[in-house]
Symmetry: C3
Subunit: 167 residues, 3 copies
């Protein structure tokens, strides 16, 4: 019976998205969408700078307190503001990479988020770091994003996963 159950269940991929760098975000979404297309069950768990990937691009982030307001001003985030971890070169390197990807009809981060959502990939912000960084559940993130969850949630998913990665 346990074998039968294993056959019914899809294999899982769980990714911690710690980084808010454009290149690491791309790596994460390439793996997530490829895994989903291979009929795997995929969860992406966003924490620390990775939360920037999910922040809405327009408007203000509604954080409370002077220091958190400042943090979300400096560390604004949003899929369109991500930068390369290397060779950003005041934006030139990031611009070049985006240009090269577009030239190859390669998806942008925005496209990847939509694709991932459509393929059933779960996009989960880490509740602990949202608390520290002053990111309320409502109003901070784009519409594709699921409910906040803590580290225990990630660990529970990860230990049932065939593959768990920290990016």
């Amino acid at each position: 019976m346990s074998q039968q159950k294993a056959e019914e269940k899809k294999e899982k991929l769980t990714i911690v998205m710690f980084s808010g760098d454009l290149d690491k975000a791309l790596a994460g979404f390439i793996l997530a969408t490829t895994a989903a297309s291979m009929d795997m069950d995929v969860s992406m768990y966003f924490t620390f700078w990775g939360l920037n990937i999910l922040k809405k691009n327009e408007g203000k982030i509604p954080s409370k307190g002077l220091m958190r307001k400042m943090l979300n001003l400096i560390n604004r985030g949003g899929s369109k503001r991500l930068k390369l971890s290397k060779f950003n070169m005041l934006g030139l390197g990031t611009w070049m990479m985006k240009k090269l990807m577009k030239e190859m009809n390669y998806p942008s981060i925005d496209d990847f988020i939509t694709m991932a959502k459509d393929m059933g990939v779960k996009l989960i912000p880490c509740s602990t770091t949202c608390g520290i960084m002053g990111l309320p559940d409502e109003g901070s993130f784009r519409s594709e994003v699921g409910s906040l969850a803590g580290a225990a949630y990630f660990l529970a998913e990860a230990r049932e996963s065939k593959i768990a990665l920290f990016i």
Copy 2:
């Protein structure tokens, strides 16, 4: 019998702590202590800059040879000297993050090391990188730290683990 054995054994989490950044150290300890509280068996294996997290905060690091002395002067480490990987801003960003965490009664890295130790998390420095960087077993690390071990030890732990992460 193999099922019975599986029930007796705790599930394992093994983490390579490669980075000495404050934010990555926090991510590692949040996962480690949460996993321990979920009754998992946790090993943290510190290598390269991650060794900085475990260096004692006070006194000199007793390395031999001019170059290793220099390295441990520039790369002094200690839980209180860790910096954010992003937005350190000459220390302002790191100070802000610590302030925000304190405001929420969130543990510091020092608290996390004590908690982890009390919960049975193993804190293991990588013997190979200790050798290269001139960190002798005695006198380099704080008291919570276990014996040094090599990459083979990590791999043996990791392959018995439900979750293995490289942070």
Copy 3:
């Protein structure tokens, strides 16, 4: 029968080499060669900046188009040009680390690539990022490197692996 099959099969380690930093490259190769010496089956999958580790050291990288030519000029790569992620200090830190390793008769990245290849470790460049970054299969990489493969290949390897890491 399935148990018999499991006994015949070697346990696997699969590593994504995303970073082109000297320290992370070392960490990857230490794990890969140690695992191979423990009779594990090892695949290293190089993507984004990690491709720099495998680029040939001599001659020009034969990319097409002005922007890709520029990218491979700035981001030249090659095992001998890798830098530390921290304390590069205009090359001084990287030079010191290499010196300290040599003093201990520790292998260089070049030695590690040869060793890994000899031990049967698969060195696989990611076809997608090769495409974006303008790295043709022929002429970009050193002789030890295997055929290019996509993300689906990595995921297929990783889900059969005991340990999968993203470095």
